[in-house]
Amino acid sequence: MTKGGARRATTLAIALLLAMSGIGLRLGYIQGVRSDAYAAEARAQRVRKIVLPARRGTILDRNGGDLAVSIPARTIYANPKAIKDKAKVAGELASLLHTDQYSVLQTISRNTAFVYVARRIGVVTADNIAKLDEPGIGVLDEPRRFYPGGGLAANVLGFVGTDQHGLGGIEYGYDQLLNGTPGWQILEEDPSGNRIPDGEFKEQPPVPGGDIKLTLDPDLQLVAERALADQVKATHAKGGMLVALDPRTGEIVAMVSNPSFDPNDVGKIDPKTIHNRVVTDAYEPGSINKVITASAALAGGVIKPGEHMWIPAGVHIGDAYFREDRVPDESLDLKGILTNSSNVGTILLAEKVGASSLDQYFQRFGYGQSTGLGFPGESPGLLPSAGRWTTSLPTMAIGQGLSVTALQIAQVYSTIANDGVMVEPRLVSGWVDRNGISHNASDARSHRVIPQTIAREVRDMLRNVVAEGTGKNAIVPGYDVAGKTGTARKTVEGVGYQGYYASFVGMLPARAPQFVMAVVLDDSTPYEGGLAAAPVFAQVANQAVRILRIAPQPAGVPPVQP
C-alpha cells in the first residue's frame, strides 16, 4: 500500500469509527435513557382503549312487553381544526343528516378541537358518515333510550337525560338498578385501524343494567289515556288524572296524567307536563271524602244503616252557613246522604263523630302520609292536625280544607272494596338484577282500617250512588258498580278558591270488587263529578272488564239483589 493510500484508509476508518460511535451513542440514548418514553409513545400509537357502553335496563309492562328500551345509536363529532374543506364536509354531512348545511357549517367552523355535530342518530346514517372517511369527523357509540309506545305511560316511565340517567318517573326512581356499568377494551391496532391479531388485548365487559317489570296493563293504559284525553278536550278542562288498581293486590293497572309528553322527543318536553299528577298533585277531594265520614259514623255507632235523620236545607256551624245544593229539608238515612251527596247530612254526622275521631279515621285511611308506592316526588297530601280544626270540622267532613292525591283517594276506595283491608299500592311487580337473576316484588303490606261489615255496608250504599244518585253516568252495562262523585272547589295559590275539581271513584263488581278507578278532571265544564268524571269511569271500566277478564258475577259470590 502506498503512503497516500494508507492515510486515506486511516481517515476513513476514523470517520467510520466516529459515525459508528455516534450511532452507538444515539442508540444508547434511545434504547437506554429514553427507552420508556419512546416505548410509551409507540404503544400509544398502536394501543387504543375503547369504552364499551352498558345497556340500560328495559322497563316492561305486566305482559312482558317493552315500554322503555335502549337501542344502539351513534354520535357524530368533529375536530374543526382537522377539517380542510369545511364547506364540502358540511354539505356532505347535511345531506346525510337531512339538515341545514349552514348550521352544520357553523358547527364545524368553531374554534375548538371537539364539537358534537349530531347526537344519538341512527346507526345506518352514522355508518354512511363514517364511510365518507373525512379527516376530522368521528363517530362514537352512544346508546339511546327508546319508548316503543311513544307517549304511552310517559308520566309513569319518566325520561332520561343526555347522560342516559333517569330524570323522572320510574327511570329516575330506579336509576341505580336500570343503569349498567360501562366496560372497556384495550387493543393494538395497525395504522388502518385493524386489530393486530397477536397484539395486546384486555377486556372488561360492560355490565348491563337490570330490567323492571311494572304492573301496568298496556291495553288498559291506552284506553284510559285516550278516554281521559277525549274528556279533557270535550269539557275544556285544564287536565286530568286517572288511576286504576286491583284492590286485592294493590297492583296499579293504569295510571294517567293529562297533559302528557312524548319521551322520545326530550327536547320538546314542556316541563309542566312531566309530573305524574296522580301522585304529585294534591287537591281538595270534596264529596268523595264523605265515605270516610260515613265509615267513621258507622264504626262509632253514631248512625245505623237504615236509621233516618232530619236534614235541613242549611245549617249554621260557627260563623259559617252550609246549605244543601239539591236536597230540600227531608229525612235521610246514611245511604240517602251518600246517594244525594248531602253536605248538611255529612256535616251533622261529623259533628257527632267529633274532630278527634274523624282525624283518626283520616289517618287510618292514609291521609297526610305517603302511600308506600315509593314513586319519586310523591306528595303525602295535607292533613291539618285535629287541634287546628276548631272551625274546620264541617269542611273537613265534606272534603275541603285538606288535600290528597288521586292515588290516596283510590286507596281509600280500594280499602272499602277490599272489605276494610288497605293494601299498599304498587307499580313494580318484579325485576331482573345485573346478574340476570329474577326477583318478584314481595307481597304488598296490608292492614285493616275498618271492620269488614262496615266496609260492606258502605259499599252497598255506594252501589246506590251509581244506581240512583249522582253517579248514574258511571253505569257499566251488565256490571254492578259502586262509587261516589266529587265536586270540589279548587284552591289556586295566591288567589284562593277558583274553579273546580270534578271527580269520580268507582269499583266493580260491587259485591267482590276486582277493579277500582279514580278519575279527576281539572276545571272542566261541566264541573260536576257526576257529569264530567263519571262518564270516563264508565268508558274505561267497560273496556277494563274485557282486558282484565272480570266476570260480572265472580265465582262464589251470590247474585246481587236488585
Binding site: V69, I71, P72, V123, P148, G149, G151, R195, Q221, R546
Partner: protein, 117 residues
Amino acid sequence: MASRPAPRARSRPDLKVVPGGAKRRVSLVPFIAILIATVFGVTGIRAAQGQDGLKAARLEQLYSQEQETHVLLSAQVAELSSPGRIADEAGKLGLVPASNPVFLRLPETSDAGKRIP
C-alpha cells in the same frame, strides 16, 4: 579429531494402514434443510395465525353488527306491536271497539255440567 560415535539406529514401530482413519466430514445439508423448514414453517404458522386473527376480528365485528341489528329490530317489533299503533291501524281499517259483552249464565241446578250418558 576425535570421531563422534555413529547414532544408534532407532527401532521404528511397524506402520500399517488403518481403514477409515481419515476425519469424516459432517454434511450441513440436513441442518440447512431443517433450518429452512423451521423458518418457513414458523412463518407459515404465523401467517395463518394472522389470517385467522383477522378473520376472528371480522367475525367479531359482524357479530357486534348483527347484535345491534337484532336490538334495533326488536325495538321495531315493540314499536309496531304497541297498543297505540295497533289501535290506530285498526281504526284506519274501519274497526271499532267491541260493544258491551253479553254473558251467558248457566242454570245453577244440580244437573248443570253433568255428563249425560
